[in-house]
């Protein structure tokens, strides 16, 4: 009895001294005074394993956060599982994360098909499913899927930026398109077509697709060149982008060459393709590329390089995918800090949907993150840039919202 009274008094004393803090400490499954559990899936094995490095980068960033004492004293436990880019396995792994590992939320799950497979499940259960690492438009649908929010600039919006650029600078362009035969490729094509409007049918003179199992895209480039196009819309992932850039140059085809953002990496795409062969490429950029010389003395880049060498030495700094992982991890940390001591799933989602003008150092100047309860698109702006043989020279205003 004495003991209980003592406890009560102690409690009262504590409550009177810091009432706000005590009242606000709220947790859902996956968070407590010392730990926050976050789940993710990435393809660490299989044909898409080139993206696995993004998950490793995220893990490395959270290691640094933990070394610095965590967030408000809570360590981050980041559980990233391999799904091999196979949707059935994603479902299984995500159920493991949610039901067995009891994560507070999911962040940075990669790929449109894998995420499509878990879309309904996480929303039915009310698990925040944020920084979804693909650019499909469906990740920004707060009415029907309030628990899901994407990370990348959405592919269709980016396609729209290129469409506007073509309409402004080359209204009678004859466009040839090369795209990867999957959701990502088709979204980019749709964005361009929607942007061109009713002129699309007249302006687009040739389309060719490739499969990720194709050894080369040479044949496609030959076909596209033969169409007589003077504008080339290149929707390819790094290896194929490098092949295409080289082949276009080697065939003496000199179109207005628009390269999708996915493959703008100077170190892992343009250098292998040949920097001289990449001159004149146009892209829409939104983050800083590690090998672009213009950022050599940029403090943010210096910090990134130092961090990379210390926490992810086995990785390849040339790989621009790592920047994506870095940004996602920083975004997660930002949201968690905003959550304070209210680590409920509802609050995670609320904070995710209340990002205002967040300028992360590795994003291009002027490109800010903004979300709200009815705007679930995180990155909505980009700036056009032209490659001059050494670096991406940005031009024009920041486009989009």
């Amino acid at each position: 009895m004495m003991k209980r009274l003592m406890l009560l008094m102690l409690g009262l004393a504590a409550a009177s001294s810091a009432p706000a803090v005590l009242a606000q400490k709220k947790y859902d499954t996956g968070a407590n005074d010392t730990e926050i559990r976050i789940g993710s899936t990435n393809p660490y094995s299989g044909p898409a394993s080139a993206y696995g490095t993004i998950g490793r980068t995220e893990a490395a960033y959270f290691r640094m956060i933990n070394d610095q004492g965590g967030i408000n004293g809570r360590k981050i436990t980041f559980i990233s599982l391999d799904d091999g880019y196979s949707p059935p396995r994603t479902v299984e792994q995500v159920r493991k994360l949610v039901e067995q590992d009891q994560v507070l939320f999911l962040a940075g799950t990669l790929g449109t098909p894998p995420n499509s497979a878990i879309h309904k499940y996480v929303n039915a259960r009310g698990i925040p499913h944020i920084f979804v690492n693909t650019g499909a438009t469906k990740w920004g649908d707060p009415k029907n899927f309030p628990w899901t929010m994407g990370f990348n600039i959405n592919y269709q919006a980016e396609g729209g930026i290129y469409a506007r650029y073509i309409l402004d600078t080359k209204p009678d362009a004859k466009i040839a398109i090369l795209f990867q035969n999957d959701d990502y490729g088709k979204d980019y094509v749709k964005g361009l077509k929607d942007g061109l409007g009713d002129k699309a049918a007249k302006m687009i003179v040739a389309e060719a697709s490739y499969e990720v199992t194709d050894p080369t895209v040479d044949s496609q480039i030959v076909t596209l060149k033969a169409s007589g196009a003077d504008t080339f819309y290149n929707v390819t992932t790094p290896k194929f982008a490098a092949q295409a850039i080289r082949k276009v140059h080697d065939m003496d085809w000199r179109p207005l060459h628009i390269l999708n953002n996915v493959s703008l990496s100077v170190g892992s795409v343009l250098t292998p393709a040949g920097l001289d062969k990449s001159v004149g490429l146009i892209t829409a950029a939104y983050y800083k590329d590690p090998l672009d010389p213009q950022w050599q003395n940029d403090p943010a880049m210096k910090e990134y390089s130092a961090w990379f060498r210390k926490y992810y030495p086995e990785g390849d700094i040339k790989d621009a995918f790592n920047v994506t992982g870095y940004l996602i991890a920083q975004g997660v940390v930002h949201v968690l800090k905003a959550c304070g001591d209210d680590l409920t799933r509802a609050n995670v989602m609320k904070q995710m949907a209340s990002i205002r003008d967040l300028q992360l150092p590795m994003m291009l100047p002027g490109i800010k993150w903004n979300t709200s309860a009815d705007d679930y698109f995180l990155i909505e702006s980009a700036q056009l840039a032209r490659f001059d043989g050494k670096e991406w020279v940005r031009f024009g205003p920041v486009l989009g919202k």
């Binding site: 660490y44 094995s45 391999d82 059935p88 479902v91 497979a117 199992t213």
Partner: protein, 347 residues
């Protein structure tokens, strides 16, 4: 020479007054009870996993009918699995069919498709057949993405399916219900498979595998049996594919890559070629070993998986089923009849 086809020694060895056959029946019944009770004992995530195990077991039984018993190697069963899954998904999504009604249609569609594929396959032998079926597996995702059938297949985006609820006001979760439903389907399929393989047809299939010319001389219509084996094998796989679609609630071309077909092949090797029980061991391997490998190493999970594959093939050359059989016989003090090798004629 699967466990079922290789009858126990005729001498009636009795334990506690019951014959070995009775003991076996009791064992099976106990196993079945345990399987039925499982979803009420483990978490719903585990239930989901074991549900997939059951589905893979149906596939592996189907593949074994063709490859194990009939000696036709297929590296393309992922394609039949995909067809079954898409048939179910399209019927549910576009025509509002209930999930259970899609199974017979999926099975029938795959039977027809498999039968038709079996006709040209008659002309191919050994490696040529293996690679031709592999071609089917490689082509499947591209076909599913094709733009002119996009309004059916959902193209690259795939089809999302609603999860069925438990009927009749049963107070169980959808996961538990689907598991039990799958278990029931599995029992039906295994009963069919067991009857097929133990009887005249099974003997004919094995005869064609081991002595094709002799079988034909004995009046076995080899061509018919071989195409039928293809059809039936595809039917099993198609039914499993439909179940897989319902359980995962999503189909997309990326779910059915050539790797899936190779996994199925691995499943029957690990489980035991030409063995009915092997289907379960193989299914357990397919379900759990990749995750286990992922837990060991994030840097190179496939390397760990490969090492597991090697270990299983070395340590259990006749598959887990063969290993269990041997251990069982040793335990009973019988001389194992040497290495059980169900394979002849290059299987």
């Amino acid at each position: 020479m699967n466990p079922a086809a290789a009858p126990l020694p005729a001498a009636p060895i009795r334990y506690a007054g019951l014959s070995a056959r009775t003991w076996k029946a009791i064992g099976l019944a106990a196993l079945l009870c345990a399987a039925a009770a499982l979803p009420f004992l483990v978490s719903s995530y585990r239930t989901f996993q074991f549900n997939l195990v059951l589905i893979y077991a149906i596939v592996l039984l189907g593949l074994n009918i063709l490859t194990g018993y009939n000696g036709q190697i297929s590296l393309g069963h992922g394609a039949f699995y995909a067809i079954g899954a898409y048939v179910a998904a399209i019927l549910m999504d576009q025509f509002g069919w209930p999930y259970w009604a899609t199974l017979p249609v999926a099975g029938a569609a795959c039977f027809v498709f498999g039968f038709l594929f079996g006709l040209p396959a008659l002309r191919l032998r050994g490696h040529y057949l293996a690679l031709a079926t592999f071609a089917l597996a490689v082509a499947m995702p591209q076909i599913l993405k094709y733009k002119h059938i996009e309004h059916w297949t959902g193209g690259v985006q795939g089809i999302v399916i609603l999860k069925p609820q438990a009927p009749f006001g049963l107070g169980i979760t959808p996961d538990q219900w689907l598991y039990l439903f799958t278990l029931a389907v599995l029992l039906v399929m295994f009963a069919i498979g067991w009857n097929l393989l133990r009887g005249r047809i099974g003997r004919a299939l094995v005869a064609i595998r081991d002595h094709p010319v002799a079988a034909e001389a004995m009046g076995v219509p080899a061509a018919l049996y071989k195409t039928l084996a293809f059809g039936v094998s595809a039917l099993f796989t198609g039914v499993a594919g439909a179940l897989g679609a319902v359980v995962v609630q999503f189909v997309a071309p990326d779910s059915f890559t050539a790797l899936l077909s190779i996994s199925f092949m691995i499943g029957i090797v690990i489980g035991g070629v030409a063995s009915i029980s092997g289907a379960f061991y193989g299914a357990l391997f397919l379900q759990f070993v990749p995750n286990f490998a992922d837990q060991i190493s994030k840097a190179a999970p496939w390397a760990i998986y490969g090492v597991f594959l090697l270990a299983f093939v070395y340590l259990m050359p006749a598959g887990v089923a063969g290993f269990v059989r041997l251990a069982w016989m040793r335990m009973r003090g019988l001389r194992g009849r040497g290495e059980t090798s169900p394979h002849r004629a290059g299987v």
